[in-house]
Point group: C2
Chain length 463, copies 2
């Protein structure tokens, strides 16, 4: 398959290819041309089959799924299926057939899937497995899902350091269960990780050189309890295709492969974006509106309390409003401008902290830059809004108040939106979580208060 | 190196390791212990050296950098250096030495770096290169930087399909320039891509089998003009370590490797987050506050115009404010609640569209779910704010107005924040760009208008 870009996004081409696959599969299935359907399915990538099944009516899914000849392919399709189709297949496939599919699944994927099912079904499926697989899953289930142990596969290829290169090649011949081999991990007699050899190095080695002499002992590894984000960071930093996982005694117990690393990166990003917006990943996996509302409710609460607080501030300054009623007309634009520049600065900060471009060394430089940016934008918009309010409302005091407020609020918001995430980062709180509700609410309250204080000063009224 | 998690984030451990490296390097450098320094640098990962150099005073950087013995390592460190340290090294290293370093750099990294320098310096460095390297860079420069051609390396390992496996292994022995080998690409006499063989398959093959018989012809490839995001999507979807790049005639011209794919994923994510906040990636690479202000200014303009529009709406309803002055006190909380739920829904939508979990098939389901979520949260907060306003301001009409407004605004905002990004996605506009300013402004204006319309109705005054 060549992905041809033509002019626009190539992504659409992939979809088109899948639309073709979808039509072919449905046509063959309706004609009951099982042989041909089997051939088409054997030629397609599992992920494409999974995507196609997601668009097929419920009552056809299981039948088509079970037409796939190889159990390994069925297992991989099942892993990558959307929740609805997966549950359909699980409920309609016979128990012994499902067991065969699950046996063909890599243990880490199997563990992930069982963790997503309801407990009763998961226990039933687990009990149907062979003793070895069951044990593997039970071991993996002991690790927290967001740790190296939780995402690793226990099927890792390792050999003792006193084996010769030629024997290592023979050993690779006999491999079955291992997911993907790019690296050969070298261990000592106690299974402790000693080093790593890339497949290319093995290919180029003299037949009777010992792995000990061949291996690179500068190995990057993680312990089972390492945060999954750390694993992804290491893979990115050192450009690794897989990372070996060891226990507290440096004994090799598994490895995290590229597919898991991609998934972690995708999930962590989604998590960061959702957190900044004041919701969480739980939302995406939830079907119940009440549950989603429950996830969002506490985040909204911070903004709500802040809003009520602002109500009191405004009520306190009611005498100013009676004097210049038009002040209230400017509340939305004044809050909006500070809020928006705040979100911009906060996003740059949170992302800079996440990708490591924002460091202790350059904090002061970033801060002074942000101060200038806030001032420039504040003066620009403050000048326009001053002229606008003077022309439209014909009140020079009003013009002074709103323009001064816009300058100070926008500058203050830019600074606050960089200091708060940094503060949270320093005290060990995820800045993405704290930024959304805190920064916005703080900017709102301080902004409104500043507005009325400036108004009091300009109008010569006691605050 | 084993990354030990201990209890908290492992990331900190990496930093600690680098702090140790930093201290060692500076100590050895101050003592002028060049030999020992060279050894320490040879044992460290290039990325770690780059991170350490970023924390070293300007006047020491170049000296330490040029202590690195191998040109390949210097090249890799230079590629991964921060802008300040890189410019320092570039300005202080002698021309012929810099040429040797650049010659050792993979052509795609070299092209990227030259693209980031000022034109004069880039031209000078380019002219110093050997003819072959110069030509490679000039060819790569023809591709847009965000396409497969722009991120690929032209050094790709390919062999003709009528070669035997044993000869292929010999060919790998003789390889020099190629970045990383995990796949062997198979081409025909006209260099057209025919298939792919993994290194493992080659390792296990009978010596005299032809590559033609060994290769997998179900190859995923992209054309040079494919969007870089597409390349990353394909790598993730098919779990590939490298993707071959072909021209319009299916002739193999390069490959995109994993390091580039990781970079694309990171950049695209940053881009999406910054766009949603109404700024752009240009900001991160810019040193000038005026330039940054220029990037943010147009986005803020949408919100600004919206805010001025809101001013006019409020001025239009001034007679209501004279009647119930406390109405204005509720403007911030009413705008804030709708704005916040809007950002939540919009983020879930934008992220769902980006990761493909939100599809045409489930739009209606998501929409009705979002409607319910908005209603639940709206009723919850509407009830509280109603009671609050009644207790604090003792005005039942006010209580009715604000609670009704919160219910309708929050529900409306949730729906709008899902429909607008979907609409932009459908018409081919990046929903992340459009969402920030448009959704927020639309929610603000409609929310304020709705507030006063409800107030008019409850108070029995003509709007």
């Amino acid at each position: 398959m060549m992905i041809d870009s033509g002019s626009a996004k190539t992504g659409k081409m992939v979809e088109q290819k899948n639309r073709l696959l979808l039509e072919t599969i449905r046509r063959l299935h309706r004609r009951k041309a099982t042989r041909s359907l089997q051939k088409v399915l054997a030629k397609a990538y599992p992920i494409d089959i999974a995507l196609v099944l997601a668009s097929i009516p419920d009552h056809e899914i299981t039948d088509i799924f079970n037409t796939i000849a190889e159990m390994e392919i069925r297992a991989e399709v099942l892993t990558r299926l959307d929740v609805r189709s997966r549950d359909q297949v699980l409920s309609e496939t016979q128990e012994d057939e499902m067991t065969a599919i699950l046996e063909a699944m890599p243990p880490d994927d199997l563990t992930d899937m069982l963790g997503q099912l309801d407990q009763e079904l998961a226990a039933k499926l687990l009990n149907g497995l062979e003793r070895e697989s069951k044990q593997e899953v039970e071991e993996l289930l002991q690790y927290a899902p967001d740790t190296a142990g939780g995402i690793m596969t226990p099927d890792v290829f390792s050999l003792h350091s006193n084996i010769r290169a030629s024997d290592a090649i023979v050993a690779i011949h006999d491999l079955q269960d291992v997911e993907t081999v790019f690296y050969l991990y070298v261990v000592d007699e106690e299974e402790r990780l000693q080093g790593v050899i890339s497949l290319r190095e093995l290919l180029l080695a003299q037949p009777d050189v010992l792995l000990r002499e061949l291996m690179n002992s500068r190995t990057v590894s993680v312990t089972t309890d390492a945060d999954q984000e750390t694993v992804a960071d290491l893979a990115r930093r050192y450009e690794l295709l897989a990372i070996p996982v060891v226990d507290g005694h440096n004994i090799l117990v598994g490895m995290v492969t590229l597919d898991d690393i991609f998934e972690v990166i995708q999930n962590e990003t989604t998590e960061d974006m959702l957190r900044m917006a004041g919701t969480s990943e739980a939302e995406i996996f939830s079907d119940s509106s009440f549950k989603i509302a429950g996830v969002r409710l506490p985040w909204l609460f911070a903004a709500f309390v802040g809003g009520l607080f602002a109500t009191q501030i405004i009520a306190h300054f009611e005498h100013l409003l009676t004097q210049v009623l038009a002040l209230s007309a400017f509340l939305p634009v004044i809050m909006g401008m500070a809020g928006n520049i705040g979100v911009q600065s906060a996003t740059v900060t949170v992302r800079g902290l996440a990708t490591g471009t924002l460091t202790v060394q350059n904090t002061m430089a970033v801060l002074s830059k942000e101060l200038k940016v806030g001032l420039i934008l504040g003066i620009f918009y403050g000048a326009i809004i001053g002229v606008f309010s003077w022309l439209v409302f014909g009140n020079l005091d009003l013009a002074k108040i709103v323009s001064l407020t816009v300058v100070t609020n926008m500058t203050g918001a830019a600074i606050l939106a960089i200091l708060l995430p940094m503060f949270f980062h320093r005290i060990g709180t995820d800045p993405a979580i704290a930024t959304g509700p805190f920064v916005t609410t703080a900017i709102d309250i301080l902004g409104v208060a500043n507005f009325f204080i400036i108004a009091s000063l300009v109008l010569g009224v006691a605050p």
